[in-house]
């Protein structure tokens, strides 16, 4: 019975799996950058061979980072309904746009060609590849490292007055308070349950009832969040925080040879996937 309220124990912030592998030890900026260009290249590649290479590469990255593949699969499972629906819709309705291939079925508005089948297969595989890649990135990089590297990669935008540091601070604070609010919510659910409130007894299809059940939790949670925010502002101001002010930065990353190696490998793969004219 108690386990039903133990939210804070179930929460994993990010999903960092510390195995200390080569991928883990890479400079996070390099990882984020290589991830971005690889995802872009995969998204633009429409060939079977290209996407097979992408799939093998993402599986290989799991092996290199010593992370069990089931972590990646657990990311795919919730996406399966979307992948299937998307595939069906593409198969049935996208044929007209890809009529230049070999025609297999032509029945009323349904037109299935070799090209539209390619679209269906490639976009499903693409989905899997991107989920695998982003899983490797988040499983092998702590959230702190991620925010640091995003801040550092976006820092050129400071020149056009884009509030890079503010945004990264907001992200950091949000991550920092996730477990705090989980504990708070746990307390609140226990308090409400001890006064007879029901949580999660209605079936999942009774959306209205289940939404109503959350009100006695969400509203006080908002209230607490605001008062915590006020406290936090005072604490930050007391420590000389001035938005937009010039600041130094505590964390630094040193780019080493292995990082260049990873960067070049990532770039080569991206260029290969993007520019090479695969036969099929």
């Amino acid at each position: 019975m108690s386990s039903e309220f133990e939210i804070s124990k179930r929460i994993t912030i990010g999903q960092y799996v510390p195995t200390g592998s080569f991928i883990h030890r890479l400079d996070p900026r390099v990882k984020v950058f290589a991830f971005t260009i690889l995802v872009l290249a995969i998204a633009l590649n429409t060939s079977y061979i290209g996407n097979t290479i992408g799939l093998v590469l993402s599986l290989y990255l799991f092996w290199v980072s010593k992370i069990p593949i089931r972590y990646g699969l657990s990311g795919i499972i919730p996406a399966i309904p979307f992948i299937v629906i998307l595939a069906v819709l593409q198969l049935l309705f996208q044929g007209q746009l890809f009529s230049h291939g070999k025609v297999y079925v032509d029945y009323g508005f349904i037109l299935i060609t070799s090209e539209s089948i390619r679209l269906v297969v490639v976009s499903a595989v693409r989905f899997v590849e991107i989920i695998f890649l982003s899983s490797v990135l988040t499983l092998a990089t702590s959230t702190t490292e991620l925010t640091h590297s995003i801040q550092s990669l976006l820092s050129p935008l400071k020149k056009i007055k884009f509030p890079v540091h503010e945004i990264s601070l907001i992200t950091t604070i949000a991550i920092r308070f996730v477990p705090t609010f989980a504990i708070e919510m746990e307390k609140m659910m226990k308090a409400q349950a001890s006064r007879g409130a029901d949580f999660g007894t209605g079936g999942w299809w009774r959306i209205i009832q289940r939404t109503k059940e959350t009100f006695p939790i969400i509203i006080p949670l908002f209230n607490i969040a605001l008062s915590r925010a006020e406290d936090l502002i005072l604490a930050m101001e007391s420590r000389c925080y001035t938005p937009g002010g010039e600041r130094s930065s505590y964390t630094t990353y040193q780019i080493a040879a292995k990082d260049y190696l990873a960067l070049v490998t990532g770039l080569l793969f991206a260029i290969l996937l993007f520019a090479y004219p695969f036969p099929i």
Binding site: T144, D231, L234, S238, S248, Y250
Partner: protein, 283 residues
């Protein structure tokens, strides 16, 4: 000696709307000198927390002035200098930690005042060392106990090398063990020459201080050495305050055995008194 903090006829009221104001502080006038260990006590709603927020310019007085080392807190340009001189540790351990890793939180204030990286590392090391949190430096804050979080918050203030630290009910959310940890750190810092101001309603904590300021209805009603203040048991009771538990116990014993001193405010003194009297008994 020049005072570190000087309050001159400070009055302050919270505005509820255009017409109604709730006066919180009235004509507060005192000075705090470098190296002092001062406790500000008062019951809930007496204005002690509002007063503590005046000490580093979070709030500025409606009338009168607060001077920190000759800087007026009303002067916006000197806010940074003021907050580097007087740091504050707040009540709720969770609501003052900004970063997701302990050492980065300690560095937060240093980043804000643009300290070069090498010096920052050194200062963070030192500060974590003083509060004995170095082994936890790579931990996320939600894995720490309340007392440990509060020590991280202290380290964050300490790293900025202020001359004075205000503890705004910094122990009230902690269990007795966590409170002891924090009190030890406070004592240690005061021994090193840091000025400590603690706002509290725990009398055992106030007894640690050298000087006590009692606030009631936004005014100072008593100001003096801790031992002197706790002699006025009846006046304190009228202000809904009490003397420390050890003092109460000492008085009860004193009533039965007149030779037992009732002028005791700290546990250690109590033990010494027992040891002293039992030795006399033996001889």
């Amino acid at each position: 000696m020049e005072p570190l903090i000087r309050l001159e006829n400070v009055s302050f009221s919270y505005k509820i709307n255009e017409q109604t104001k709730v006066p919180v502080l009235r004509d507060i006038d005192f000075s705090i000198y470098p190296g002092e260990y001062v406790a500000i006590i008062g019951h809930n709603g007496s204005g002690k927390s509002t007063l503590s927020k005046h000490l580093n310019g979070i709030l500025t007085p409606d009338n009168g002035d607060v001077w920190i080392h000759g800087y007026n807190t009303k002067n916006v340009n000197q806010k940074r200098a003021i907050r580097q001189t007087v740091g504050t540790v707040f009540q709720h351990p969770d609501n003052q930690i900004v970063a997701t890793i302990v050492e980065e939180d300690v560095a937060f204030g240093l980043e804000n005042i643009n300290i070069p990286r090498e010096e920052m590392r050194q200062r963070v090391d030192e500060a974590l060392d003083v509060v004995k949190m170095s082994p936890f430096r790579h931990r996320p804050p939600h894995h720490l106990s309340g007392g440990q979080k509060q020590r991280v918050a202290i380290a964050g203030v300490l790293a900025m090398r202020p001359e004075c630290i205000v503890f705004d009910e910094a122990t009230s959310m902690l269990d007795s063990f966590g409170r002891k940890e924090v009190l030890q750190v406070m004592r240690k810092m005061n021994d090193k020459g840091m000025t400590i101001i603690t706002v509290t309603h725990h009398m055992s904590e106030a007894a640690e201080a050298d000087r006590i300021i009692v606030i009631e209805g936004g005014q100072i009603v008593m100001d003096g050495p801790a031992r002197e203040i706790f002699k006025h048991k009846h006046e304190l009771e009228q202000l809904q305050l009490e003397v420390p538990a050890v003092s109460q116990m000492a008085e009860l014993i004193h009533n039965r055995f007149a030779e037992f001193s009732k002028d005791i405010i700290q546990e250690s003194e109590f033990i010494e008194e027992v040891v002293k009297l039992s030795k006399e008994e033996v001889s």
